[in-house]
């Protein structure tokens, strides 16, 4: 009986020793962690919280921009910049947050991509009836950027990039197109509708006719500009959704570009 009690007491002492040492170990760990927490490492090491995403965006943009033939012509660049600036100012968007590039490509297309880049093809500019329709398309892509739709695509892209590097040893070449498609496909129908509505609101704030958004949707129906999942039925529904939106009356619609400027822009895109 006594020996059993002795044994238990001995066990208890061991247990206490373990507990004591465990507490000291944990405390030591916490102290070291707490001490390292006192330093603002990001500032000391000159890092930014979004460094990984930024680098990825930069990298993708470099891959993608090899397919883009940027238009340097002022007849094209100035009016596009003017429209972009007007849209940003009217809607309180930071102008520096978007970089718009016109590419000399006959394809009818426009897209937003990772980072802050927005690409418009000359083929699309040529196709538009008026500046409001062009703004509608640009606005749709701006909305994707502003609503964070592209940013969520970056995750998928990071994953793909890592797999690409692991498989092929490098991440360049035709892969950029696959990546571009992947990002586009990750934009869902709901997001498309949100971007449509947002773009119409942008037009309204610019004192342009928001219903041109609906016209643009119908006009580009057969080109698949607004969505990679587009089918004809879908475009009609999306246009109707815009027409059913309520916009307050905010005076007569205005003309941002002079008719001459618009004409020269269109002619330069031929």
């Amino acid at each position: 009986m006594v020996s059993l009690w002795n044994y238990n007491r001995h066990g208890m002492q061991k247990m206490n020793k373990i507990l004591k040492e465990a507490v000291i170990s944990v405390l030591l760990f916490c102290t070291v962690f707490y001490a390292t927490l006192q330093v603002d490492w990001l500032r000391v090491l000159h890092l930014t919280p979004t460094i990984v995403g930024d680098k990825l965006s930069e990298w993708t943009w470099e891959m993608m921009s090899s397919n883009i033939k940027e238009v340097e012509d002022d007849e094209v660049r100035l009016p596009i910049d003017t429209l972009m600036r007007e849209m940003c100012v009217a809607n309180g968007i930071d102008t520096a947050s978007i970089n718009i590039v016109v590419s000399k490509t006959s394809e009818v297309n426009a897209f937003a991509t990772v980072g802050k880049h927005l690409v418009v093809y000359t083929g699309l500019i040529k196709k538009m009836d008026n500046e409001a329709q062009l703004c509608a398309v640009i606005g749709h892509e701006v909305a994707h950027l502003q609503l964070g739709h592209i940013q969520s695509g970056i995750r998928r892209q990071a994953l793909i990039s890592v797999i690409m590097i692991l498989v092929s040893g490098n991440g360049s070449g035709q892969l950029s197109e696959i990546i571009g498609d992947m990002i586009s496909n990750s934009i869902t129908r709901t997001k498309e509708n949100d971007a449509d509505a947002q773009s119409a609101r942008y037009l309204h704030a610019m004192h342009l006719n928001p219903l041109e958004m609906a016209n643009a949707l119908e006009k580009l129906d057969s080109y698949g500009v607004f969505s990679f999942l587009s089918d004809h039925d879908d475009s009609k529904k999306r246009a109707d959704r815009i027409r059913n939106m309520n916009f307050s009356d905010n005076g007569p619609y205005r003309q941002v570009l002079s008719p001459g400027t618009w004409e020269r822009l269109q002619r330069s895109c031929k």
Binding site: F29, L56, V162
Partner: protein
């Protein structure tokens, strides 16, 4: 063989008093060499820590007291390492895949875990050397736990 048995059955044998044979020293030291590899690879790949733990567990089930004691200490030392490295690993993955942003807290944790890995590395080297010489190097806390867990 006869003296071997008697040697093991000594009732009040503590690990400090154990007098290992040459092959025991080798096996116990081998444990820490393996542990050393796990510590080095475990930081980027914590699954290695888990694998090492499994191997040490299997080793601790057979073998002499000296070998068992050391393999259990090596096992216990891998457990906190596995937990910490695992957290760091998934945190890193989340940052690399843009699910979360880089922060000073992450860097602080990174440094702390690295310091712990270095401590573990040094202790493992010391253990490997002293077991090779037939002595036992008791780690703080882990040695105490091993004493309690590992019976003759």
């Amino acid at each position: 063989m006869e003296s071997y048995e008697i040697h093991l059955d000594e009732p009040s044998l503590r690990i400090e008093d154990a007098v290992p044979y040459e092959d025991e020293k080798e096996r116990a030291s081998g444990c820490y060499i393996m542990s050393l590899v796990a510590v080095m690879i475990g930081l980027p790949m914590p699954i290695i820590n888990l694998a090492a733990t499994g191997i040490f567990y299997l080793m601790s089930r057979k073998g002499t007291f000296f070998v068992r004691w050391n393999s259990i200490q090596a096992l216990i030392s891998q457990v906190p390492l596995f937990v910490m490295n695992n957290i760091l690993f998934w945190w890193t993955i989340r940052i690399l895949f843009c699910f979360t942003e880089l922060s000073s807290v992450y860097i602080a944790y990174f440094i702390t875990v690295n310091l712990y890995n270095i401590y573990d590395f040094i202790e493992t080297v010391r253990s490997a050397i002293s077991t090779r010489k037939g002595k036992v190097h008791k780690w703080y806390l882990y040695g105490t736990i091993t004493d309690m867990v590992c019976r003759r």
